[in-house]
Amino acid sequence: MNFSWPSILLYTCCAGSLLAISGCDQLPGKPKESDRWIAPDAIKDFKQLFGTNCSACHGDDAAIGPSLSVQNPFYLAIVPKDVLKKLIAEGVKGTAMPGFAKANGGDLADEQIDILVNNLAGKAATQQTSGSGKTSSENLPPYSASPGDTDRGSEAYNQYCAGCHGQAGNGGKKAGSIVDPDYLHLVSDQYLRSIIIAGRPELGMPNYQEFVKNHPMSPEDIANVVAWLASHRHGASEANAAVSPTATVSSQ
C-alpha cells in the first residue's frame, strides 16, 4: 500500500470541504421547513385541525369516537353547512359539545372553523357523486324537523328499533338501553334524530334505511321516535326513570 499521511490528510480535507459545501443541505440534521413553528391561528391543514380539536369525541379515519362520527356520509349529507358552522363555533348548550370559536372561549379562529366546515362539506359532495346514490340529498329526510307524536313514535320504535334496543327500549341483545333518563338528559333531540338517520355503522348500528330491509323509515316515523325517546327524559315521564337502565353491560 502506498499511503502517505500527508496525502490522506489532503484527500480527507478536500472531501470534507466538498461535503460541507454541497452535501450538507441533504443531511437529516438540517431543520426542515415543515418543522418551522406555525402560529396556532395560522394552521390551515384540515387533518391537523380535525385531529387536535374533534377526533377525541368524533373519531377519525382510524379511531371510533364515542360520539357521532362527523365523517358519517349520511350525517354529512343532511347537515346544512351553516348549521355545521354554528355547531362548531358555538357548541350545543346542555350537551358535551363545546363552542370552539374564540368568541365562545375556544381556541379556533373563524377562518379555521370555515376550513373544517368546507372540508367536511366537500367530503359529503364527493361521497354523493362517487357513492351508490344512497346518500344523495334529495332522497334523505331533512336535517331537522319539529317533534312528532309520542304514541305513534312508540309504534314506530317497535317496528324499527326494538329488535336491538329491546321492547321497551331498555336494551336488548345487541344494544343497550336507549331510554335511560341519564343518557337522554345528556343528548339533544337533534342528536337523537341525527343518529337515527345516520346510524353508527362503526359500532354496528345501521342507518334509517337499513333497520327494516327495503323499508326505510319515513321522515314522520323519525320525528315520532325522537318524540317518544324524549318523553323518557327526567321529568318527562317519572315512571320510566325507575326502570333498570343497563340490561347489557358492555362485556362482549
Binding site: G176, D182, L186
Partner: protein, 505 residues
Amino acid sequence: MMSTLRTVALWLERRLHLTKLWNQTAGHPVPASTGSWFYTFGSMTLTCFCIQILTGIFLAMSYVPSAAESYHSLELLNYSIPLGWVLRGIHYWGSTCMVIVMMLHMTQVFLWGAYKYPRELTWISGCILLFVTLGLAFSGQVMRFDTDAYWGVGIGASVAGRIPIIGEALVHILLGGPIIGSDALSRFFSLHVFILPGALLAFVSLHLRLVLGKGINEQPKPGVLVKRETYDKHYSEIIKREGVPFVPAAINKDIVANGILILVIVGLALFVGPNGPGTPADPTIQIADAKPDTPFLWLFACAALLPNGSEPWLFFVFPLVASLLLFLLPFITNEGEKHWRRRPVAVAIVILSYLGIGLLTYEAITGPWSPQMDAWSGLPIKAEYVKGRTPLELQGAVVFQDMQCRNCHAIAGEGGHRGPDLTQVATRMTNPQLVRQVIQGGGNMPAFGKNLSPEQTRALVAYLCSLHPPNVPPAREAVGVLKPIGETQPTPSPTPGNVAVRGEK
C-alpha cells in the same frame, strides 16, 4: 536553506524560551501509567470548550440578543444562512457533550482519589468549572429564546422569589427589570458570552497550572496510602522511575479520544441537527409543556416529585449542602486509600448519584406529571374501549373526554399520566367508589362535584365501570349483604349504573 531556518528558530528560542516552555507544559513528566483511556476525559472537556468558543464566536455574528429579534435571527441561522444550522448543531451538541464528559472526568477523578493531598485546589477549581459550565448551559438555553427559554427564566425567577428577604431583589437582578423581556435576555447574553466564558478561561488556566504544578495523579494501587508527610517524595520517586514526557509519550490516547469526540459532536450536529428554536417566547401562546435542557431535567423532575412544601429544601438547602460537600471533599478525606476497590463508600456514592440523576432525567423526559393538554380534544379512544358499550356508557366516554379527564388519565396507555391509567379501572374500584372519587377528588385529583351534573356523573361512572378485560369481572363491594358464615354463595354485584349518586347530590 536549512541553516536559515535554523537561525530563525534559534533567534526565536533565545527570545521566547520555547524549549523551556515546552518542557514545563506539553513535555512535563507524567507517570507512564497515566497514558490510559481513563485519563482522557479532562482533555475532552477542554476540547468541547474550544469547540464552544469557536462556534460561539461565529454564531454571535448572526445572533441578535433582543427579545424582539432573537427568534428571527435563529430562524435565519436555521433556514437561510448557509451552514448556520450546522454551527447551531455543533454548538448545541458540543454543550451537551461538554457536560457529559465533564461528569465523566469528575467521576474518574473522584474514583481514582485524585482530589486528595496535594491536589485539593485542583479539585476545587474543577468544581468551580463545573458550576460555570452548568451556568453556560443554562444561559445558553435562554439564548434560544423560545417558550422553553422564556418559562425557564420564569422558573428561575420563581425559584429566586422563594428565597426569604432577598427574594424580590434577586428576581429584579436576574430579570434586569420587573418582568421577563429584553433586559432579561440581555443579562443572560452578557453572562453567556462574556462573564462565564471569561471565568471559564481563568479557572481553566488555574486548573491546568495546578495540574502541571502538582503533577498528574498516578494510577492508584490498592493498599498504597496517601500521607501528607511522604506523598511528595513518593510522587517524585514515581516520576523518577516511570516518568515520561506527556507529549509525545502519554498523549496518544487523548488524541484518539478527542478525535472521536469531535466526530461524534459534528455527526450529531449533521444527523440529528440543532435543537429548536421551538415556539417563540410569546407568553400569550398557550403551551403544552416547558422543559429545561437535558442537564437540568433531573432538578426539574425533583420539583415535581418531591412532596409539597419541600421546595425550600430542594432549591436552597440541598444545593447549598451539596456544593459545600463537593468543595470540602478534599478536606474531608485528605489522606489514605486512593484505589476505588478499597473505597466502597465512594463507589456507592457514584452508583447512587448516577442512578438517581439517570432515573430522574428519564422521569423528566417522559414527564408523567405533566397533563397532556390536548388529549381531551385530540386523542381518540381506541376502538375496543368504545365498541360494545351502551348509549349511556358511550355518553359517559364523551363526558370523560369533554371534562378533560383524559389530560391526566390514560386509556390503553394513551393520554396523560398524571393520574392512574384507567384501562382496567373497573377491576379496582366499584361504582360507588368511582362516584366518590369523581365527586370528591382526593389523592391529588381535583374534586369534580361542582362541575358535573348527576347525569354526567352517572354516565361517566357507567363508562368507567365498563373498563375491565372481558375475562375479569368488575370489582364488587366488599361490604354487601352480610351472609352467615358457611353460606358460600357470593354477594351479587350491584348493577353498575343503577347504584348511583342520587343520595349524594
